[in-house]
């Protein structure tokens, strides 16, 4: 690696992969509970497993984003990180907070956890994805500020590139919009309205800036294409992200009590949200086709191209599938939402973090690329995880379509639980695909331990 301080990224990447494994194990528990309802009950009720599953996802992605920025910002800025020590302290604080929170979910009844952690002082808990106790939420703010501070100070003392600017803006947005997690009015409509300012403006807004910056960085490195070209693309893509995605928030405002005009604003703008993802796909393939060098890390190129395709499918296409108000009227809150959620989070965010790890980790371990055999194993893990996640999305889509028909469209609508019995075959298939995903992930972890002749730096 070019700068000593980049080494802190390694800690973050290892933690990210570990938590990723945890997320998948809890996903498998939940998947089984969908068909064997009393599995692990009452030790791990579904709601607890789900909290652990989604919170681990958010935390490992944040670890990934942080590790990625500590790696790429020194290289972009052509200077050492402002404070590697702060980055290391932040890492341990975040890891400890995350571990204690997950243990709290698993070992303490949620209501007691709320009581003990000061939820009476300020009610913030018990909302989807924002289940964290108050001290954890404060901790997340502090960690995000420490991260932002470290990165911005590094950028300020060194070279300023579009990639580091966009990444910093994305981080700033991440920190700012998380503050809405502290606003929880009794008025349910307002609660839901501003809840989306965290959730939607994160994943369909500022996180896409971070995603774009990370992808652009890796593409410059592995293709050797001129920075001017890559950064121009980056700006155009994230312009489309914000132009479509901000008003696109409206697609969550159709049925929660907000005025009906959001059906127009939300439908029109969110129907355009696939555009930036399509551009990202074209961009990634274009850059790889115009490459000026053959980078020995073929696995990283595969992850990068995979990110662009799967993000388009998951976030773009599967989002579009149910984003128009007249369709969403029937699909809102069904397994179709779950299908989209899985493919989008995996395709856009899980894959971009894995892309970054795939590129950076060999360098952090003192080589340009991993041995051939390790790369082949890593590429196998890419295909296993990607294809099985695609099948998870397909099965959940099947479940969702039948659910919509039986419960909402049919002239004789069935009750929710009766419908769930009818679609259990899809849930079994999803669980099987989930097992293949786990095998893919284990193979991925295994690829770090494969020995052989690695590629030295040129």
């Amino acid at each position: 690696m070019k700068y000593k301080s980049q080494a802190v990224a390694k800690l973050y990447f290892i933690a990210a992969i570990g938590l990723f494994l945890g997320q998948i194990l809890f996903g498998l528990i939940m998947g089984l509970q969908y068909v064997v309802g009393d599995f692990l009950f009452p030790a791990i009720p579904f709601n607890v497993a789900r909290m652990v599953h989604t919170n681990l996802l958010i935390v490992w992605l944040l670890f990934g984003f942080m590790g990625a920025s500590y790696y790429l910002i020194p290289e972009e800025s052509e200077t050492e990180l402002f404070s590697p020590k702060l980055a290391i302290i932040t890492f341990w604080v975040f890891l400890a907070a995350g571990a204690i929170t997950v243990l709290g979910y698993l070992l303490v009844p949620y209501a007691s956890l709320a009581k003990w952690t000061g939820n009476d002082l300020l009610n913030t808990m018990g909302r989807e994805f924002l289940e964290q106790p108050l001290p954890t939420k404060v901790g997340i703010v502090l960690v995000a500020l420490s991260w932002l501070f470290n990165i911005v100070m590094t950028v300020l003392k060194g070279r300023k590139t579009a990639i580091s600017l966009v990444l910093s803006l994305g981080m700033l947005g991440l920190a700012v919009f998380f503050l809405f997690s502290f606003y929880n009015p009794v008025n349910l409509v307002k609660d839901k309205f501003y809840w989306w300012w965290v959730v939607h403006l994160w994943v369909e807004g500022v996180w896409e800036l971070i995603l774009g910056a990370m992808l652009a960085f890796v593409l410059i490195k592995v293709t050797g294409v001129d920075r001017e070209v890559v950064e121009k693309w980056l700006y155009v893509i994230i312009t489309m992200t914000l132009v479509t995605g901000i008003i696109g928030t409206g697609h969550h405002y159709f049925w929660i009590g907000a005025p009906a005009y959001w059906q127009w604003w939300g439908s029109v703008f969110s129907a355009l949200e696939p555009i930036p993802f399509l551009m990202m796909t074209i961009f990634a393939f274009n850059m790889v086709n115009k490459r000026r060098r053959e980078h020995p890390n073929k696995a990283a190129v595969l992850w990068a191209l995979g990110t662009s395709v799967m993000a388009f499918l998951g976030a773009g296409l599967w989002g579009f599938l149910h984003t128009l108000a007249p369709i969403n009227y029937y699909t809102h809150g069904t397994q179709l939402t779950a299908a989209h959620g899985h493919l989008a989070f995996f395709g856009a965010y899980a894959l971009v973090v894995l892309t970054m790890i795939s590129y950076a980790m060999p360098v952090l371990r003192g080589r340009a690329a991993n041995p051939e055999r390790a790369q082949i194993m890593e590429m196998w893990s890419f295909w296993l995880m990607t294809i099985s996640m695609f099948f998870i999305a397909l099965f959940l889509t099947g479940a969702g379509v039948v659910q919509v028909w039986l419960q909402r469209l049919s002239p004789t609508p069935m009750s929710f639980m009766a419908v769930q019995d009818q679609i259990s075959i899809f849930y079994w298939a999803r669980e099987a695909a989930g097992v293949v995903f786990l095998i893919g992930l284990l193979l991925y972890i295994g690829s770090f331990f494969v020995k052989g002749d690695s590629h030295a730096f040129e």
Binding site: Q33, M125, W233
Partner: protein, 141 residues
């Protein structure tokens, strides 16, 4: 992309577009907040409703159920459960959990007092009277 469209032009379009659409979003939000009282049933928020919402949150109900279509998709929609089942059924249901039927999805026992359960029901009644543009399509949620 063509050479006449430079990186600094792209950057300016990014800033301009981002700021413009964020301001538009703020304007729509401002209007939404203004008309919301006509739709959000907030006139019926009593201390019981407020306490019911807190119980809803501190028992992580959203971890299995949806409420106005948002949440987990493991258990039935509860935004309209008040109209679907009525208060007495809901109370008996919460008290009777878990059913313990082998292989069936289980809802935990939350050990709520009768007064607490009344408040949860008050919250669900309030939620069922929000103007949701006629969602869900039918009573099954």
């Amino acid at each position: 992309m063509s050479a006449t469209f430079t990186k600094s032009m792209a950057r300016n379009v990014f800033y301009g577009g981002g700021v413009f659409f964020f301001l538009l979003f703020l304007a729509l939000t401002f209007d939404t907040m203004k008309v919301l009282p006509k739709r959000d049933n907030s006139q019926n928020i009593t201390p019981a409703v407020a306490h019911g919402k807190k119980l809803w949150e501190t028992n992580n109900c959203i971890g299995c159920h949806t409420l106005l279509g948002e949440g987990a998709y493991f258990a039935p929609e509860l935004g309209n459960v008040y109209t679907r089942r009525g208060p007495d059924f809901i109370k008996a249901w919460i008290k009777g959990q878990p059913t313990g039927v082998p292989g069936r999805r289980q809802m935990p026992q939350f050990n709520l007092s009768d007064a607490d359960i009344d408040d949860v029901v008050a919250f669900l009644k309030y939620a069922s009277e929000i103007n949701t543009n006629k969602w869900p399509p039918n009573i099954e949620g």
